[in-house]
Symmetry: C2
Subunit: 333 residues, 2 copies
């Protein structure tokens, strides 16, 4: 079977560009026992993948030059030599950016497309949703009446994290990059307040105004100056779920800023960096709660779905200018 794929052509300096990506054609090869042939349906693009484009050891292995990108994919089984899957099954896996591929059955998980749209398994019922769940419930631990601030609030993780804080009875303040996103957060996702950081004059003051009782929980997807401003408003015994730092991922020099340890010290604040894999033994619990909240109508969801495998590099790059609302993904045609 002929397949298109996208490989890492070169490592980016700063913001990735189309030159870092190369389209190729290859043969999927021959199907062996316990393998399935897959047709890709949805492909996830996520901010953390930027780190994998560097040649630096981190929690996720680096992409290799001239080798395909990979990440969360929902695909359809078109031929099976595994007893676990039959033709037309829908599966989730960490798979190459390719239109077709062969994969071992043991690396795939069947997903139920009757109870939720298939794309949800890359978002609210996938890595971003689980990330939001554990970061908010295990680190943020918002209580009723507390103030919770979320940066990158209109992104795939942010919209879920904010709604979980709302379900726990907290007052929820989102920070996002456009008036349209702020409107969405308040009208669709039940955020109590939303701040457009691109038009706010003095973020520290704006946050103080919007959070007159201070900030008890900060769910940080963004880092940098937005985070500096939130840290100016921390309450005693506040908790910071350190989930992402997208504003810094394309830095070409070591990012500098005001030192934060003195602020954390005087507030007896907690910061916990995390990745969703730290909680892998409890994915079932998170999945059950998220599904229940969706079914009860307590949890809303939105996606930015771009059509066409060829748009993958552009969709990924667009994450860093905040062109997505909610989860960004590609539907192959």
């Amino acid at each position: 079977m002929k397949s298109k794929q996208i490989v890492l052509a070169s490592r980016p300096q700063g913001l990735p560009s189309s030159e870092n990506f190369r389209f190729e054609e290859r043969e999927t090869g021959k199907l062996n026992d316990n393998e399935v042939l897959l047709k890709t349906w949805y492909i996830s693009v996520d901010p953390y993948m930027r780190g994998r484009m560097n040649d630096i050891k981190s929690y996720a292995a680096s992409f290799q030059l001239d080798q395909p990108f990979s990440g969360g994919v929902v695909a359809t089984v078109i031929e099976s030599r595994s007893s676990s899957f039959v033709e037309s099954d829908t599966v989730f896996g960490m798979l190459p950016w390719a239109t077709y591929c062969i994969e071992k059955a043991e690396n795939l998980r069947k997903v139920d497309i009757q109870s939720a749209p298939p794309s949800y398994y890359l978002g609210i019922l996938g890595m971003p949703g689980l990330t939001a769940y554990f970061g908010m419930t295990e680190i943020g631990k918002p209580k009723a009446g507390e103030t919770v601030v979320i940066s990158g609030a209109a992104g795939a993780v942010g919209i879920v994290a904010g709604q979980i804080a709302g379900i726990k009875g907290s007052r929820v303040v989102g920070i996002a990059g456009s008036d349209e996103k702020c409107k969405l957060l308040k009208e669709q996702f039940g955020f109590d307040e939303a701040i457009n950081y691109k038009t706010a004059k003095a973020m520290s003051k704006v946050i103080a105004d919007v959070c007159p009782k201070g900030v008890d929980v900060y769910y940080d997807n963004v880092g940098g100056e937005i985070t500096d401003a939130v840290l100016d408003n921390l309450n005693f015994h506040s908790r910071i779920a350190l989930c992402g730092q997208i504003s810094l991922y394309n830095s070409t020099e070591i990012p500098m800023g005001p030192r934060v340890f003195p602020k954390l010290l005087t507030k007896s604040a907690l910061v916990q960096g995390f990745i969703v894999g730290n909680y892998s033994e409890r994915f079932g619990e998170a999945f059950a709660y998220l599904t229940q909240w969706i079914n009860e109508g307590k949890m809303k969801y939105t996606e930015t779905i771009i059509q066409g495998f060829n748009k993958l590099p552009d969709a990924f790059i667009a994450l860093f200018s905040g062109k997505n609302q909610g989860k960004m993904l590609i539907e192959t045609e």
Copy 2:
């Protein structure tokens, strides 16, 4: 009774100087029911007091202009109108920097000078010892075989924190400001390694060399560039007990440095700011362990005792150039 006292003459910019302190004489006044008249014996000087010299709201109330400094004091009862204390009792209290004072009995705690020298109640059996205990056992949680790094290791808190990590079976690395202190840490206090940050060329590399398995626990008393270097060497799931930032206390501008959140994120690291008061319900437990370790010979201790009430301002200022080994305190003559 005539008493000498020291009041805040002016608020310092940067490092405090003798001009910020003023000696006065006053009458202690008349003893009422449930009060005792005290003769000061030992007075504690602690880095955190620098923050109290600023007019900024923090966890400890600011000193007021023209009012006495105050802090941990061990004193002798010379007259009592309380049923709780008799003449010649030794007590601990948060008391003014004065040679004599009158205090309500309810604010004092009797200390046992048979089982430990009276000065210990300002150090290993006082605030610094309890701080080390809770920061290390509740936040650092060192395990056998892990690597624990302590900045300000030869200070009042550092020497206790390091020995607790050693008792827990960890490999203990201290950072201090002279070869003499480093020698002391290794020979007297059982540290496995000690780094003199004043002569080390490239701290990040030196720490990497001394900690070939990386850093699992960092007990931070210092902040700034030393902390930057330690953070370059964190292990996955490392814990940082954020106890002090003495290198920054005299900053006259907002201290800048490399952003630390990206480092914490990629290592799933924990940072917990704290003050000893957060654990006040468990002081008895800490006191019992520290006493036991001292009696078993597992815990050594050292003090820098300066003679004379008049030396108090100099002793306090000397903290910031690291002139002390272990706990710094004044013995009034």
